[in-house]
Amino acid sequence: MDTDRHEVALSVNGIRYTRHIESRLLLSDFLRHDLGLAGTHVGCEHGVCGACTVLLDGQPVRSCLMLAVQANGHEISTVEGLAGKNGAYHPLQQAMHDHHGLQCGYCTPGILMTMTAFLDENASPSEDEIREALSGNLCRCTGYQNIVDAVMTAAMRMRG
């Protein structure tokens, strides 16, 4: 069968990519298989678990609920772009490490992308606000408490 293919040009973590892809390829699979950025995890693939969360023009979205062709001309950020150029952790990554905010780590990339964007807009969040912001990311290991603690600590450190 003829496949419907399109050229996409987009930026991921500041790097420009141009690819010729099939229209039904999801953004999550494009990042993982075409660009080799397997840090974006794929859990439920229907928008429930949040593991595949990436930033589209700075806003967290489910990459499994977007076609890769739709990212044409847009900027995507993934977990691979969080750490500094020298390899230093983002303050939230460091806080997740310090507070044992992950166990198996499967949900972690999605949580990091959701919550770094949240912290950019909320320098002093309350615990309730953090829980509300986290509501779209499922974690089956931690019980969330350590993640909430990590986000609180990251917020404090980022305020300086």
Partner: protein, 335 residues
């Protein structure tokens, strides 16, 4: 692990059990490296194949829909359509992406009403403080609609056209007496929210039409609003949800009551007539209870894995009572 990964792994395992399989595998690996990648990519596709067209203008999108009718689906936020396609419950032959069309998103206040573009995302409504102040009902409901990531992407027009009866916005549109402007390549017409929702996931939209504007009448003075729902988890579809608006007269009597429910039927349910007895009366507790009992008799929830029909009806009654009381209190408190 994807099923596709598993299948490829299995194929390799097969090779290893053959005599000399390892050598064959090594030789084939190089030859297949490219093929394997193609196999992996092809099998990694969740949706069935379709033709994708990014519409360049509203006219372009409507011309395409006129040409392809029900074979084509508009892609707005994709937060309901793409999951359905991932499961292959939906297999549209043609996807008309309207996301890059300028002017389809936006909040346009005008005399006595606000026009909302269909591509307006939930997040835009949450962030527009004057819109949120004008429609406290919507402000209160928005945090219940899915999750931040979905609100960043999901659109009002997509939500209403999808017409999930469990969704919050169709009920809100009923409560607010919204009107929808729909357009095809040939004509334009207005549909009242009360005539728009025809059944579960079914609307009055014809195959060549698009919902192009949602008109929300500004609430009258001395109107209190309240949105409440009960869901198993934050962001889940509700067991039952209610949008209530009460307008009080000069003597604090009920002048108008709007009640609409989500999650308790094949469509969002306008249950305003349950409160007919309240009109002209002070919103006393017994009068509100009577309206609530009447509302419970009007709905026919189907029950689901999380709640029996009786429990849904019970929850709807409890929420209606609380929402009516809260809405009245809010008028009297002046907000």
């Amino acid at each position: 692990m994807h099923l596709s990964d598993f299948q490829i792994g299995y194929k390799r395992l097969d090779f290893l059990t053959c005599p000399g399989g390892r050598l064959i595998l090594r030789a084939r690996r190089r030859a297949e490296a490219r093929d394997d990648r193609v196999t992996l990519l092809a099998s990694a596709m969740k949706p069935a194949p379709f033709k994708y067209i990014a519409a360049s203008s509203l006219e372009h999108a409507l011309a395409l829909k006129a040409q392809h009718g029900d074979d084509a689906k508009f892609l707005a936020g994709g937060q309901s359509l793409i999951p359905a396609m991932n499961f292959r419950l939906a297999r549209p032959a043609i996807i008309i992406d309207i996301n890059e069309i300028g002017g389809l998103a936006g909040i346009r206040p005008r005399a006595g009403a606000v026009g909302v573009g269909p591509l307006t995302r939930y997040r835009a409504l949450q962030r527009d403080t004057s819109f949120a102040e004008l429609f406290p009902l919507i402000r209160e409901a928005l945090p219940h609609i899915a999750h931040p990531q979905i609100r960043n992407r999901g659109t009002i027009g997509g939500n209403l056209s999808h017409a999930d009866p469990a969704s919050e916005f169709p009920a809100i549109a009923l409560a607010l007496r919204a009107r929808f402007r729909v357009q095809s390549a040939k004509r334009e017409r207005w549909i009242d929210a009360s005539n728009f929702f025809a059944g579960a996931l079914t609307t009055d939209l014809r195959p060549d039409e698009m919902l192009v504007e949602i008109e929300l009448p500004s609430p009258k003075p001395r109107t209190g609003a309240c949105f409440m729902e009960i869901a198993r988890r934050r962001g889940d579809f509700a067991i039952a949800g209610i949008a209530a608006m009460v307008t009080l007269g000069e003597r604090d009597e009920c002048a108008e009551v709007r009640l609409a429910l989500c999650g308790v039927g094949e469509t969002p349910v306008d249950a305003s007539s349950a409160a007919d007895g309240l009109i002209g009366q002070a919103p006393s507790e017994p009068a509100i209870r009577e309206a609530t009992a009447s509302l419970q008799g009007m709905i026919e929830p189907s029950g689901n894995v999380h709640a029996t029909a009786d429990y849904q009806r019970h929850v709807a009654g409890v929420l209606a009572e609380r929402a009516l009381m809260t809405a009245c209190q809010r008028v009297q408190d002046g907000h």
